[in-house]
């Protein structure tokens, strides 16, 4: 069932990337217990590339900043967000776009699949009408042609009896069906990039596999790239070409899936992979798990407090730029990584 990627792993840099996130910092202001204003640093310099036609898995624990990265890319940050950096999509900095220019990109060039399908769908509008609205917003099709296209895409995502389901309201659909509709909406305008935020949360295990197979198949068929945000290493291992691991608002390691799994360089990545395979009773299962303090901004390594290998240099010196190992696409932010 695995559809291989069209492009190779070598070319994972800004030139061949459809999405290039560079040095993105994101902070939110809030008030603490004493009333002083503090900033939660949600993203601390995110560097990430999505290659043409590649499926990238973005993995990390809750609070690592994966969803925020997606939200920043789509331009759905709340007004109180303070964001700096660049998000280059097809050469244009998305962070500098506003209003109509941003609307042209969203929904047409970038498709977004939200975590909670029912939350993404409008509860009082029929599913088919929502699709048609999306189609007509980004094309010049008339009502009849748009409707035909909508039914076509509903069929493509595996919804039985699409003519009838066209007229359904979101609450009449099961979780799996609703998620398929959301996938249809994300893909109907043939985007070049699909961002899926935890697309299978809340779905049954057997339905999960169906939805992921579908997503992979459709993305490959369109030659699009995808960014799948998840906390499940299994999804990354089985469906993604490249992966990026986030911790405390930074991408600590990234590279082709096969390579990262075979030879993880960052201590956090090693922990994650080991924990996913550990049997109960092994020492690896008891890893320190306090969430990182997002109010403390550090130029040094964000993982130093939890790292068992942490040396003095990790706490004080700024993290080096990503190492360039023999495999140029595999990068890690770690002072102690042994890269040949």
């Amino acid at each position: 069932m695995n559809h291989p990627a069209p492009t190779s792993a070598k070319a994972l840099d800004a030139a061949n990337a459809i999405l290039s996130i560079r040095g993105v910092h994101l902070a939110f202001a809030s008030r603490d217990m004493q009333g002083a204003v503090r900033h939660a640093h949600v993203l601390n310099g995110v560097d990430l590339d999505v290659g043409l036609g590649r499926i990238v898995g973005l993995i990390g624990e809750t609070g690592a900043g994966k969803s925020m990265t997606a939200t920043a890319t789509i331009g759905l940050l709340p007004p109180s967000a303070e964001v700096t950096g660049k998000i280059l999509f097809e050469g244009v900095d998305l962070l500098s776009l506003q209003g109509a220019a941003l609307d042209k990109v969203r929904g047409a060039r970038i498709g977004f699949i939200a975590q909670n399908p029912r939350a993404a769908l409008e509860p009082v509008t029929r599913v088919g009408d929502q699709l048609v609205r999306l189609i007509r917003a980004h094309s010049s099709l008339d009502a009849k042609a748009a409707r035909a296209r909508a039914i076509e895409i509903l069929e493509a995502v595996g919804i039985p009896d699409p003519q009838a389901r066209y007229r359904a309201y979101p609450h009449e659909l099961s979780g799996g069906m609703a998620q398929r509709v959301v996938i249809a909406m994300a893909l109907v305008n043939q985007p070049q990039l699909v961002i899926a935020d935890e697309p299978t949360t809340g779905l049954d295990v057997t339905v999960q596999a169906q939805v992921l197979d579908l997503l992979q198949q459709l993305v490959r068929a369109q030659g699009a790239a995808a960014l799948i945000i998840t906390h499940d290493l299994g999804i990354v291992a089985q469906y993604c070409d490249d992966m990026a691991i986030m911790f405390a608002g930074r991408v600590v390691e990234r590279g082709p899936v096969a390579q990262v799994f075979a030879d993880p360089q960052h201590p956090y990545t090693r922990r994650l992979i080991a924990a996913s395979r550990a049997r109960i009773g092994s020492a690896l299962t008891s890893m320190k798990s306090d969430p990182p303090d997002l109010f403390r901004q550090t130029k040094a390594c964000v993982y130093a407090d939890r790292c068992e290998l942490a040396a003095a240099v990790c706490q004080t010196a700024p993290v080096e730029k990503p190492c360039t190992p023999a495999a140029p696409a595999h990068r890690v932010q770690c002072h102690l990584a042994q890269i040949p």
Partner: protein, 282 residues
């Protein structure tokens, strides 16, 4: 966590409606409490030489048709405002909370009766209902308090009931039962504290309403009458004199009434916003 237990200063700074509303309400409450010491004159003393006198140095807000000092009467009027609103709202809570608790937790006939009485109250405009009942049962302060208290009780009951129904949708009650709580302890320790926040925000609103209703009753001639220094009764008298040009007799009691009601409503709004923020930060 960010603003789990906000110090008072922050709450007042973030929500000016609470600050202003509270200032107004506490100001009037102070007037009510300290009336005998603040008011320059006896509110029901007749100054036969200064009937319908305009505002002056002697009578700061003028005098009314009976020659009584308006300023002192307005200060004492706040006693009647609070004196009716506070017991009435307390009565509503004492009746409404247990009924709402039972209706939400047990359902059954109590719930049915509560819902039907809510429907009934929605059919009749509450002010007309209050007017009719007070007119029928006798025009005394006690009756006014009783009527307002009873008419408002279902509102508190409904708020508590709604929050309990929401609780029942979650697992708190199941969890408390699984640990070994009996029904009584469950209700007082777990259910009640987690379902009264809505009702609490209503207190300010209902007080505002109680004050308006009692003023309306007095204005219409039912309830409190002259020479009692109640704002509604004062406006009633003042209305006659608007035409002949003695504007102060009606205006100042009217302003006092409007300001206090405004303050209470502002406070209620602010508390609601504050509760909303606390809820989303959990």
């Amino acid at each position: 966590m960010l603003v789990r237990a906000a110090p008072w200063i922050n709450v007042l700074r973030d929500f000016p409606s609470i600050a202003i509303g509270l200032a107004i309400v506490l100001g009037y409450a102070a007037l009510a409490l300290l009336a005998p010491w603040i008011a320059p004159m006896d509110p029901i003393r007749v100054h036969a030489d200064a009937v319908l006198a305009p505002p002056s140095a002697r009578f700061l807000l003028g005098t009314d048709g009976n020659g009584m000092d308006l300023f002192s009467r307005i200060i004492y009027g706040s006693r009647y405002a609070f004196g009716i609103a506070v017991p009435a709202v307390l009565l509503s809570i004492v009746i409404g909370l247990p009924v709402g608790l039972w209706a939400g937790y047990r359902g059954g006939w109590v719930d049915e009766i509560l819902l039907r009485s809510m429907d009934l109250l929605r059919v009749f405009p509450s002010i007309i209902l209050a007017l009719t009942i007070v007119a029928a049962t006798g025009q005394s302060i006690i009756n006014v308090i009783l009527v307002i208290g009873l008419l408002d009780a279902p509102i508190f009951a409904r708020m508590v009931r709604a929050e309990i129904l929401a609780l029942r949708g979650g697992i708190l009650i199941e969890s408390a039962r699984a640990i070994g709580n009996g029904t009584g302890r469950m209700l007082f320790v777990h259910v009640l504290p987690n379902s009264i926040s809505g009702a609490l925000t209503q207190i300010s609103v209902r007080m505002a309403w109680a004050i308006r209703v009692s003023a309306t009753l007095a204005f219409v001639g039912i309830g409190i009458q002259q020479p009692t220094p109640e704002w509604g009764a004062m406006i009633r008298q003042g209305a006659e004199y608007m035409v002949t040009g003695e504007w102060w007799v009606a205006l100042f009691p009217g302003l006092a009434l409007v300001t206090l009601v405004f303050g209470l409503n502002l406070l209620a709004d602010g508390i609601q916003d504050w509760m909303g923020r606390r809820r989303t930060q959990r």
